[in-house]
Symmetry: D2
Subunit: 331 residues, 4 copies
């Protein structure tokens, strides 16, 4: 039985707690949150104890921690957990600073603890099935990847102001997906973006509509588009072209019901947002983490994946601001 | 160059004239209609002469006739054309009386003239492709056929009163399609029907909503449903289940455009009615007739197909009125 | 906290136990099965005690029972549970004998205990959404209902021989769905069926492919087709035509992934069978049962629904055997 | 009756001739081609005379010319036709040189003759319907346009070598479509491309897989991707996001037939290539040209549209070669 401590009892901490409840082989033993009532509520639901972060990081009855606190707490919590030899699951982004991520990566490697970055979309059953076919060679070598990702509506401008910007806050998921699908690193990128949804977002120095082109060493191409608005639900689609054909994953709609009237044939909106759309992904993600820590499987996206996605997000931010393409280090 | 005379210059006669114009190897040389202006209009469009029916049937410069006159004229025109050795294309139904169709059939066989019954749906590219795959064995032996056929809106009650009823006027096409797909004759049938769209239709002794089950000698089953109303366009669908899977043909929509809004994902209505939906079918049908008469191909549905569909329509009418199943002659 | 005893620890008992675990407000306190290891396994998973059926029926710490035993045990267990004042959830069919169901119904009514029949499909989110729109009047009054239900592959012939036949074992779900959608009782029915999938099924006196037409007092029509075989997964579809349009619910596929190659555009098979397809339905069903018993909601399908579906199944069996339509009591 | 001369009797000249045959109000009176048999064949089909280009340009019985000759002949033929006061329909590209197009534009404007550039996709019924809804405000102001355009297989390398490259030969259609949909000029563009389909294409200095991002003055974004290969047919899709939703046009498949087997649900490939996919578009295009010349309607895409698309193609070519974004003149 893997004993887990949850750091951060907000929305995502609650999602992971619910997943752990549904899994065999893991249990939440302790939870921590800066807001006492948040911790108490999650403790009541899970049967775990409320403790403070430091106590969880050093507890002898905790094997692994899930870090779902605000981004600026990740660094010290990762460093503490690594030092204490705990397995670590950390929500994206690992840190806003690539330098800090490198420091965490060194600590994690030195401590030799399992580490998984919360790129939940890799575990979406549709996207996972698409990638499995890609790796199985169903369409041959990849040539062009197109990722569409649109939120139903923008977050408050106050959130955006401290989010690191669209590329680091939202498109980072798509950068990870692009790497996951492409299987080859990107070497060049050009980003364009505008504030078309809400001028306040532009006034805050960010964009709400963006498109990026990326190329790899061997000349494969990826297109990513993002928007903070989609009236028809959370728009999450992938299309991959290869030598022998195309693989694509469409949105999950609210139901399979279709109504036909004189206005035509109408199906439901896409599932509203990430909690609905990625419900199965969150469960599969936590199952993968538990399996990896207990030795039954390799971990999913590691800290290096967190690093590389952040580097792409930084590069896109720079490209959008400068209006110029950005070359990426090959390592 | 096949020289054709058109008897009946109404909507369907005009459709066939347009098809012939688009084909190589055939031309309309004469047209006839009880309404002189109708004949003159079609003559002007086609460059053909206006003649009377008798003159066309006996003309030495006419190789084939297309009979698109009211049903009660078909008998004498078929008999006349057969006697004169003309190839014959006759709209469905061949005749309201099975006895009369048998007489025509004997005359046609005695004269050894090509005869094609206007079951246009056999030539719809979608349905033809479906059947080709069925015959190619793509899903193995047929087990269950489901045909859905709904008109956008009912014709005038005055039309219905002299139409022979829904089973003879509308479902006759589906009976032919059922035979075309099944490749085996039906031996038993049960029809149910109601006047749900318009009570006036019920008052006229007919139904506007109906469903029929049929079985063949070897126990294969067919379901047909009809309605005189479909708000979303002309609903024409086929679904065939076989040993190894299913083949189905969906409706053709007005365009491939989809709009996504907060109401969901909406596609266009189905093409409005038969002139739009079966435009390609009418052209393919006439091409097949010309090819058959000029010796390049076998004819499509013959007079026996017209006979058998009429027998099924009669049986369904009887079944619906009696509330009992009806057994069909095996011949 | 509703305290539940589970009678029958086979596949369906396990499904309900898992649903209860995921719900707040209910717990499994005792389980019983004729096979001791089956009971022990489920007890271990749920933390419940193994007891015998009689002990559960009379236990003071059990508020409700879930009856998932073989059909021939239902009668005595329902009678016992009613006598003891327990709320009852009973899998379909309530009993093979309509007479027995009437006796149970009287006992349940006399004891005034909540009773729910396990017609899980009413709780499928797609079908439930379809019906909600129907009741909301989105397509006006119902005219024609078409239900397609195909299992992926037939059960063993040994199972079929004691199943009561396709109409009672399989189509009973569709009869309930037809009533659920139609909102009006059926008065006449004609069933046709054949053994096309496996001649052994025919030799056992049953059919594996069947179609039924039913009509209601006001002349509305329902078509149901069933097959014991569908290569492309569990085929569960509904189509309802009304005055103003059509509502239909398509199958749930294994994923949203589509592959396009020179063979065309291919999507996944339908979810394999009922455990996958109706996973959400089973959870919603149990939630509804708990809510009904604890007084927050009306129960779903009651014992009378179980009775009426059985009557339709009996009528269809008779119709198929006699080759004649069967009239149903109006009550 | 508009009297038309066709210059160039290759594939596209034949397409236009067939369209004119199907239209009322226009006829082909003369045809010319550098290959005598090509001209003779088209003359035989249309009933037109074979003449040389110069004779057609100056003929008193020719009102309009269709220029479907090789690109390097366009300039002199446009200049000649303008001088002779003929209405002009010219295939894309108007000329490989923007300078030459400007000279033609001046000549056309001076002569005040109708001019239409052969951007046939504007007349595709699906794309035209999409744009009509966009202009009607169905999704509000445009924010992001995504165009996917893939040929089934690459042309011979010998063709590619003299084609001007993918951006001028193939993507030029998408640039025109982007302008058509956006309703606002582009001011900046970045193109990336690779030779992934065939290294010979790379050796010839061209690419076969490319993606471009463009932005307009007000910050709207367009993504275009092209490939010379698509195993599943000619891939021609458009997706437009606006304030209130999305409009998209999917491919036209070869039929509506779907087959379901244990491999899943399979639909037909997309229509093979432009002759099939744009058959209706070519007819609508010619209808629009005839209507415009005979005064019943405005012309479609004019010479300035040809100019601007060529400027975008030049800019994309430069961007791909330099690896840098290119700013476009605002005028």
């Amino acid at each position: 039985m893997l004993r887990i401590g949850i750091l951060g009892c907000g929305r995502i901490g609650q999602v992971h707690a619910r997943s752990i409840k549904a899994l065999d082989g893991a249990e939440v033993v302790a939870v921590a949150d800066a807001i006492p009532t948040a911790a108490q509520t999650l403790a009541a639901t899970t049967g775990a104890e409320v403790r403070d972060v430091e106590a969880i990081l050093t507890a002898s009855d905790v094997d692994a921690v899930i870090i779902g606190t605000p981004t600026d707490s990740h660094f010290s919590q990762i460093m503490g957990a690594a030092k204490a030899g705990k397995a670590i699951f950390c929500e994206k982004p690992v840190d806003m600073s690539v330098e800090n991520i490198r420091i965490c990566m060194a600590a994690v490697q030195a401590a030799d603890v399992p580490f998984m970055t919360g790129f939940n979309r890799r575990f979406d059953p549709n996207f996972a099935a698409l990638r499995a076919r890609l790796r199985a060679g169903d369409i041959g070598a990849v040539e062009l990847v197109t990722i569409t990702s649109r939120d139903p509506s923008p977050p408050p401008v106050s959130y955006i102001a401290r989010s690191g910007g669209l590329f680091r806050d939202m498109m980072i998921h798509d950068f990870d997906m692009a790497r996951f699908l492409m299987g080859e690193e990107f070497i060049r990128l050009h980003a364009m973006g505008s504030a078309l949804v809400d001028p306040e977002i532009g006034a805050a120095g960010d964009v709400d509509t963006a498109a990026v082109i990326l190329t790899t060493t061997s000349g494969r191409i990826c297109q990513i588009s993002n928007s903070r608005r989609a009236s028809y639900g959370y728009d999450q689609r992938i299309e991959v072209h290869g030598q022998r054909g195309m693989l694509r994953a469409e949105n999950q709609l609210e139901s399979t019901v279709e109504i036909a009237t004189d206005a035509g044939f109408r199906r439901d909106p896409a599932q509203h947002f990430f909690l609905e759309r990625y419900e199965a992904a969150y469960l599969a993600e936590m199952r993968a983490f538990v399996a990896a820590v207990t030795g039954d499987a390799q971990t999913g996206p590691g800290i290096e994946d967190g690093l590389r996605a952040q580097m792409l997000a930084d590069a896109a931010t720079l490209s959008r601001e400068s209006g110029q393409p950005v070359d990426l280090p090959l390592d």
